[in-house]
Symmetry: C2
Subunit: 169 residues, 2 copies
Amino acid sequence: MDTEAAGTPSAEADTHPAVPDGELSLLLDDQMCFALYAASRAVTSLYRPILDELGLTYPQYLVLLALWERDQVPVKELRRALQLDYGTLTPLLKRLEAAGLLRRERQADDERTVRVGLTEQGIALRRRARAIPAAIGDAMGLDDEEFERTRATLRRLTRNVTARTEARG
Amino acid sequence: MDTEAAGTPSAEADTHPAVPDGELSLLLDDQMCFALYAASRAVTSLYRPILDELGLTYPQYLVLLALWERDQVPVKELRRALQLDYGTLTPLLKRLEAAGLLRRERQADDERTVRVGLTEQGIALRRRARAIPAAIGDAMGLDDEEFERTRATLRRLTRNVTARTEARG
DNA sequence: CTCTTTTAAATCGTGCGCAAGGTAATCGTC
DNA sequence: GACGATTACCTTGCGCACGATTTAAAAGAG
């Protein structure tokens, strides 16, 4: 009489007994995907009040993180760094341009590519953002080792999963 | 001459030297938030082709996971389980109702609450979903221990962070 | 040089996610 | 039983995400 798969100490067997081998729990709280989804949204809403003061949304903040590292970047490079679609990036960048934080201009020697550069205002915002990572890290309440290990695992997971989806694309 | 904070072996010090104590890296790839955000989206797009065959989106799948566990649920309970707003849930449930997978009806003894129940079609969909967790788990490429540990950490992170945001609400 | 293919970006439509504001039912207090 | 407060849900508006389609520029083939 099989119960649930190993490693998922749940009550699924009570309501849906005799799960065949090779199948895992369908309980919401057993899913890694839900843990990720919930954590990602929780962290985003932790950022929200902080970023509100800078007049930024969370994805806009990520764009600025990328631009503070390396300015005058082709949109294609932002697409790679953030793993976002042009359909997401183009309007996002337009809003940041409208806010006066960056400029978009076609590259002279290749009119296909658009280069994104920070304005003075965009550069200046970095000073106000410096305290953010420490505040967020504090709220997460993980010790250094757990923080690093989890971040490394998430990156590996992303890499594995991305390779898989692109193999089918 | 301070370099970057401990645990972040990055090149930030080169471009922005002398980061004061108590401040952490602003490099995109050093952020836990970005690792989470990227992983969550990557996993969602891993689900997409699978869920397409069931005619579901990813949040719709999560709702069904919750309903397969416990049917005839008040929307309030789904809100708690999925940690989603009514503004997200109401239209989402309406689309699932339009697809014939569930029914929504007011509770007789308290006309404020709406109870959600699966149709035969919604219940039947569970059979076709059984193979999903194993397929996803395989693509993630984490061994059992790392999987469990990361899931546990993410849940704790979510709990910590949620408590923080609610304390200010 | 012409024609095809590829590439970088933009556009459009759909479905979340969430804040803000609104409504109706119920509860609590008198 | 009147009435202000609370509760459960709905609606609206905005900003992502992402697939699908389109456009224009550049690269490559013959």
